[in-house]
Amino acid sequence: MLSRVADSCYWMSRYIERAETSARVLDVNIQLELDNEDQLGGRLRQQWEPILATLLDQELFHSIHKTFSADAVMDFITFERSNPNSILTCITIVRENARTVREQISSEMWELLNRLYLYLRSDSARAAHKESPIDFYRSLVDSLHSFQGTTDATMTHGEGWQFLQAGKFIERADSTSRVLDIKYHVLLPSGEQVGGNVDITQWNAVLRSCSAMEAYFKIFHGRVTSWDVAGFLVLHDTFPRSIRFCVDSLDQALHSVSGTDRGHFKNEAERLSGMLRSNLDFTNGDSIFKTGLHEYLDQTQARLNDISAAIAEEYFRL
């Protein structure tokens, strides 16, 4: 497969995942705001600002919007063209990438992305968002899920598909770590130990932002503690948005591309992904606790970046 095409597949997939994360985080945050309406008052900022931090865009937001409001944040993350990570920008990039690899992906995939792109640019998207932001974000997430299903059902599971998988899972691992990390900061009042008395609603929100609420409760039977939530989202072996699951899938995809057996490596990307994967396989909540959750997540993000750089070096820059 052409290096350029592999590159496009990889980034197309990352941006799809990024758009999905944004949509889900916003959906959850709106609900959270509705739950807390009566006591909100001065906490508006507290509720929305972390979202910007999760999605990396604080400074740009403040340069565009002088006043702070939930609508402004939503608009910025959803429709703002100058925001390189807004949902609209992500889908625009996805579509550009898809155009360059149209002969690799199926027509069904292309048409789905193209329709989504045309819709997001239209007035009816803005009208729908205004009417019910929750419905808007849910149907967006639905479309992106259909894209994943369409991809699996209509595209050959060859090299191109493996690069899509690699992009999807590396981005998803990164997103989960960010959602967790930010909430950790917000949820932890100064001076309090992690694992102390925290707001259950907020931790529920973290779970929902990762579509993890139902899966989590099946295991923990209604008990929400920060450590259980963090442990679940980092280490669970079969939940599809846990960091461990994502890194395992990433490692699998990379090995499929090169044809190397799992547990062995033929290039730097595989070596790094294998190391991170075994680290996650053999870590427990206590050892994360000793490192500190924030530090642990920080390290994980750095290691994901290293893997991404190694993938580019190995496959995209010939």
């Binding site: 052409l2 290096s3 350029r4 155009r99 149209r102 002969e103 048409e111 193209n114 045309l118 090299e159």
Partner: protein, 484 residues
């Protein structure tokens, strides 16, 4: 004329669907019956269905204005253009004859130049052709095929005679529209196809691939074939990727290619892979910055050397632009006679060369009544339709011709045939042409049909999409019998 067509006026032109007396031509009878059953609302519905299909599939042109591109679909008209079997056989024979002659001509001028030596075409005409490549003289190409893919534009005059208007021997585009138009028509009017014996066109990509594989260097039986595109911002990118997909081959941009030891490779995730045949949709000028335009960022340094060494083949060949030259066009009937010893089956449009003194005098005296064309422009650019031109334009072309007689030709204004088109709720006649696609590999293959282009503006004679032209599906019927 009945129902929906009640107020249709052929306007004194040759109309594809109706005789001058208003009666329907036999091969359109069944279509007329079906359309007459419909009303405006039903037709509108069909039209928006077709448009939505194009938009969702991203079959669009990008028009840049302001900070972002808006995407437009090429206007598509729902009334098919129907060509009866006997007319098509005539066209087919004529096109095959023409393409054979053009390929013999290109081989000749890049080798012995017999046609010049025997006085049929002046050396000066060849030497001054903008796209003539003297650096290729003496070089052999596989099977002596230069134009593998040809799009010769055809029109019909006031008597319905088919004439060739120009030959596109470099990168004729539009074939994806031919294929998509058929898909759209099948979606929108499935029943019509049951009532008409329409010959299929969807074998084109496979025929194209077979032609490309046939011309692989060293007779390689399993060559790697790729499509080379200028990139996603090229207005024909959709077509490039469409063809690559339909042929199941890679589409590459120049950065994907690298030349080592006079061989062309593409950069893949598994390392370098040699490329044997390139269906290039990049003009000669931009192909290789070490040979042609130094400022080209689209090019692949060294690719021309690899081509000259015979390690890679290009389709179409380098230097075919000399056959596109509108002055060369004038000599095509003479070429047919010279190389094949046959009379041309499809005539040219009557043409005057301003490079010839007597012709130039006539041209300059009759500018207001002629169509003037720059010899090396396309897409409807660099032309003037005398009767519709302003005084300033006429003056501009007069000066241009006097300054560069070799650079222009003139033709009488041909009243192109018209076909009914759906315009604002009713049917009106619009001028059309036909671009058939002719492939030359092991044998000559002509896809039954082609792209019928429509001058959508009322009265306009310019069908190019860059000038607001649209298109319609082209049906070649399989048998003599009128459709039932």
């Amino acid at each position: 004329m009945s129902g929906f067509f009640q107020s249709y006026d052929t306007g004194g032109f040759y109309d594809e669907m109706f005789h001058a007396d208003g009666s329907v031509r036999p091969h359109y009878k069944s279509l007329l019956e079906r359309f007459s059953e419909m009303d405006r609302a039903a037709f509108e519905l069909k039209r928006s269905l077709a448009e939505q299909t194009y938009l969702n599939q991203g079959i669009t042109f990008t028009v840049y204005s302001g900070d972002e591109g808006t995407e437009r679909i090429m206007p598509f008209d729902l009334v098919p253009r129907i060509i009866p079997a006997d007319e098509w056989r005539h066209i087919e024979r004529g096109l095959e004859q023409r393409l054979r002659a053009l390929n013999l001509f290109l081989h000749d001028i890049y080798h012995d130049q017999r046609i010049v030596k025997e006085g049929v075409i002046p050396l000066e005409i060849i030497r001054t052709a903008k796209h003539y490549r003297p650096e290729l003289v003496g070089m052999d190409v596989p099977h002596d095929i230069y134009i593998h893919i040809c799009g010769s534009d055809m029109i019909r005059d006031g008597d319905g005679r088919y004439l060739v208007l120009e030959d596109n021997g470099r990168c004729p585009s539009g074939v994806s529209y031919m294929l998509e138009n058929r898909q759209a028509m099948k979606r929108v009017f499935p029943k019509l196809f049951r009532r008409h014996p329409v010959r299929p066109v969807d074998g084109y990509p496979q025929e194209l691939l077979a032609a490309l594989r046939h011309v692989a260097p060293h007779g390689n039986p399993d060559p790697t074939v790729v499509v080379l595109t200028p990139g996603i911002y090229n207005s024909a990118y959709f077509e490039h990727s469409f063809l690559a997909r339909a042929m199941g081959i890679e589409i590459v941009v120049s950065q994907d290619l690298v030349v080592n030891d006079a061989k062309v490779y593409m950069k893949t995730t598994k390392g370098l892979k040699q490329v044997d045949v390139i269906y290039r949709r990049v003009d000669d000028d931009f192909l290789d910055p070490t040979v042609f335009r130094k400022d080209s960022v689209l090019g692949v340094p060294g690719i021309v050397n690899a081509y000259r060494e015979g390690n890679v083949n290009l389709a179409n060949a380098l230097g075919t632009g000399v056959a596109d030259d509108k002055v060369t066009y004038y000599y095509v009937p003479a070429m047919i006679k010279f190389y094949l010893g046959e009379d041309p089956i499809l005539p040219n449009v009557e043409t005057y060369l301003s490079a010839v003194d007597s012709d130039r005098k006539y041209i300059l005296e009759n500018l207001e009544n002629l169509v003037i064309k720059a010899a090396n422009e396309s897409g409807g650019y660099g032309m003037m339709i005398g009767p519709q031109a302003s005084r300033e334009e006429v003056a501009k072309f007069r000066a241009a011709i006097e300054a560069d007689p070799r650079g222009y030709i003139a033709q009488p204004v041909i009243s192109l045939s018209r076909s009914p088109c759906y315009v604002d709720g009713s049917f009106e006649g619009r001028h059309i042409d036909l671009r058939p696609y002719i492939l030359m590999g092991e044998s000559v293959k002509i896809i039954p049909g082609g792209l019928t282009r429509v001058a959508m503006r009322k009265g306009s004679l310019v069908v190019n999409s860059s000038q607001g032209g649209g298109s319609k599906d082209t049906w070649v019927l399989d048998s003599e019998e009128a459709p039932c």
